[in-house]
């Protein structure tokens, strides 16, 4: 086997899609070529991410400092277990979306720049997962935002322009909060390298500047992740995008914001330990998680449009992640890592499935849909796996994820932990109700309009949904591998000084 230096592998998941994006721009007049470049880049990115995962799992953290400046001064790329795992997950989603796009993204949308924007967004997502510098993280967030805006407005419809304006203005606001937080952090600690920050931060006395910085960063991440008081942009913009784009956004973007939470609060501020300079993070996260869950699931139940229903479930699932983080225990962090992989795959799969439902039923309105179970049984089976997975039915990945989060909450041994666990269980049942509503409406019920049999669903669409559904099933059947990996990722993420004081 050819061995690639770990340093090159650590930047490959960013460089491959970025280079691909440049090439697709050059090839914009020749559409088959453009699509070919995009698909090759996406597959190459998957291969590079898997190689990176293998390297990191066996050989430890891969670090590259660009320009040759040493660690606290230069900007470094750090691929640890968490970053590599999320890169692989993002790449799997990218492959599924690229496959789905063959049937969904037609001439006009490709001409409007789907391929280049999609690849650049993937580069930004991987960049955020792999960067070791907190300011660089902000830059990747902004690149993600720019690409996402371009992707949402691909058709230049009225609703898309309106949704994109809401999305951009709120995200800019969030980025502003993040930037102030980063500025304050630099003013207090004098460094931007996250590993170095973590060392500087441990054992510092609490100060106003550090608390302000932490909570400003939190509000920026909360806004970008679509959590409770600041989520209104999400259900107002995601459903307007072309469905392949919505799937990529739902699978990737809000989770990157949660990843940033995990990285910044656990690693940099060390909030899990007793020596952290920031107090009050756990109750804030717990309130955000519980509020988001309850609001999002009830809002989802009220929806009749498949895309809107799923957009609310995106928020609800991110809330489970935040709940796991709010416990601030090793079990909770490991559960969050496991849950993230599951929810990225399943969320993207459900949106792609919604696209296929709309193709068969000529629209996203559930009330006018129906009959897919008898007309398209194969697709119905694939979609059922995803719907069961998000509701937490064994033996799918959703069951283990929810089990781990709720188990960690009960083992926390506090009243807060128990209350959060109970809320999580109730919300799981409501999720199941919401999903069974979608199922009965779109698949089970006889079609409302007589003589309108379901249209055929292109094979590429079914396959792309199947990729994600089967990976969820595979994780569910063999949870041990991912579980032990995410435990080790959590151990690697938590600073050593903090880890000693944790249960």
């Amino acid at each position: 086997m050819i061995t690639v230096p770990a340093g090159i592998l650590a930047v490959a998941p960013v460089l491959i899609p970025l280079g691909g994006a440049a090439l697709t721009v050059l090839a914009r007049r020749r559409q088959p070529l453009q699509r070919g470049i995009m698909e090759v880049a996406v597959v190459a990115q998957l291969v590079a991410s898997v190689l990176l995962l293998v390297t990191v799992a066996s050989g430890g953290v891969a670090v590259v400092t660009l320009g040759g400046w040493g660690s606290p001064f230069g900007i470094s790329f750090v691929a640890d277990r968490l970053g590599a795992l999320l890169c692989v997950t993002a790449s799997v989603i990218a492959v599924a979306v690229a496959l789905f796009a063959r049937a969904d993204i037609r001439r006009r949308r490709r001409k409007a720049g789907f391929d280049a924007l999609f690849l650049a967004m993937l580069a930004a997502v991987n960049g955020a997962f792999l960067t070791g510098d907190i300011f660089n993280l902000y830059v990747w967030f902004e690149l993600m935002l720019v690409c996402a805006v371009g992707l949402i407005t691909l058709d230049r419809r009225r609703a898309q322009l309106d949704g994109a304006f809401r999305y951009t203005s709120m995200s800019m606001m969030g980025a502003t909060f993040m930037l102030i937080g980063i500025g304050l952090l630099y003013g207090e600690a004098g460094t931007l390298d996250m590993a170095h920050l973590s060392q500087v931060m441990s054992g510092r006395p609490p100060s106003i500047a550090l608390s302000a910085s932490a909570f400003l960063l939190l509000s920026g991440f909360v806004l970008k992740a679509g959590l409770f008081p600041l989520f209104f942009w999400l259900p107002a913009s995601y459903h307007t995008a072309p469905i392949s784009v919505a799937a990529a956004l739902a699978g990737l973007l809000t989770k990157v914001a949660f990843y940033a939470c995990l990285r910044v609060f656990v690693l940099v501020f060390g909030v899990a330990g007793t020596m952290s300079p920031v107090n009050g993070m756990a109750p804030a996260l717990a309130i955000l998680a519980a509020g988001t869950m309850v609001v999002a699931v009830f809002a989802a139940i009220a929806q009749t449009d498949v895309r809107r229903l799923l957009a609310f479930h995106v928020m609800c699932q991110v809330a489970y992640l935040v709940l796991a983080l709010a416990l601030l225990s090793m079990l909770g962090i490991a559960a969050a890592v496991f849950y993230m992989v599951h929810t990225m795959l399943v969320q993207a799969g459900l949106f792609l499935g919604a696209g296929a439902i709309a193709r068969a039923n000529r629209g996203y309105d559930m009330r006018r849909a129906g009959g897919l179970m008898s007309d398209r049984p194969l697709f119905a089976g694939v979609f059922a796996l995803l719907a069961f997975s998000i509701s937490g039915i064994p033996p799918l990945s959703g069951f283990w994820s929810k089990f781990l989060v709720i188990d960690a909450a009960f083992r926390h041994g506090s009243t807060t932990g128990a209350v959060l666990a109970v809320i999580a269980i109730v919300v799981s049942f409501l999720t199941l109700y919401s999903m069974s509503k979608l199922w009965t409406q779109a698949f089970w019920k006889t079609p409302v309009r007589k003589g309108h049999a379901a249209k055929p669903i292109p094979a590429t669409m079914v396959w792309s949904v199947a990729i994600l559904a089967v990976s969820s099933l595979a994780i569910g059947l063999v949870p041990d591998a991912l579980l032990s990996y995410s435990r080790e990722a959590a151990v690697q993420l938590v600073p050593a000084a903090v880890a000693e004081s944790l249960p």
Binding site: F135, V139, E142, L145, V146, V149, T153, R156, R157, R158, A159, Q160, L161, D162, G163, A164, F165, R166, T168, S169, M172, M173, A175, T176, L179, I180, I182, G183, L184, Y186, G187, L192, A236, S237, H239, T240, A302, Q303, T304, D305, R307, R308, Y364, D365
Partner: protein, 125 residues
């Protein structure tokens, strides 16, 4: 000096937030660009006002003595570029919204929220 800069940053931020609360999209985007400016002023202060010397090690010596902190300046340059790019994108969106909705007031531009809403009537073309 620090106090003056802090007041300047706070004042700009306050103006930005006030304008962002408006329903007019053009005011909103002007408010956002004020916000990004005020953040730059704040980041500038994190380098402290100690020195005006450039961070270049003089010939013959090994250490950098008493110079200005270059990192916040580099951060600000990056933040200016990003803020400018996003403001331009937002401006282009506002222009397109004006073209398609013939209004830039957010209470009249509701096509995204009414799309697929269970209660509001759908008015998309």
């Amino acid at each position: 000096m620090t106090v003056v800069y802090a007041l300047l940053g706070a004042g700009l931020f306050g103006c930005g937030v006030f304008m962002l609360l408006s329903r007019n999209m053009v005011r909103m985007l002007l408010g956002l660009s004020l916000l990004t400016t005020s953040v730059n002023v704040m980041i500038f202060q994190t380098g402290r006002f100690r020195s005006q010397l450039p961070p270049i090690i003089p010939e013959g010596s090994e250490q950098l003595v008493n110079s200005a902190d270059p990192v916040p300046q580099a951060l600000i340059l990056t933040a200016i570029v990003i803020g400018f790019a996003l403001t331009v994108i937002l401006m282009a969106l506002a222009l397109r919204v004006h073209g398609s909705h013939e209004s830039v007031v957010t209470s009249e531009v509701r096509s995204a929220e009414s799309l697929g809403d269970p209660i509001l009537p759908e008015k998309t073309t």
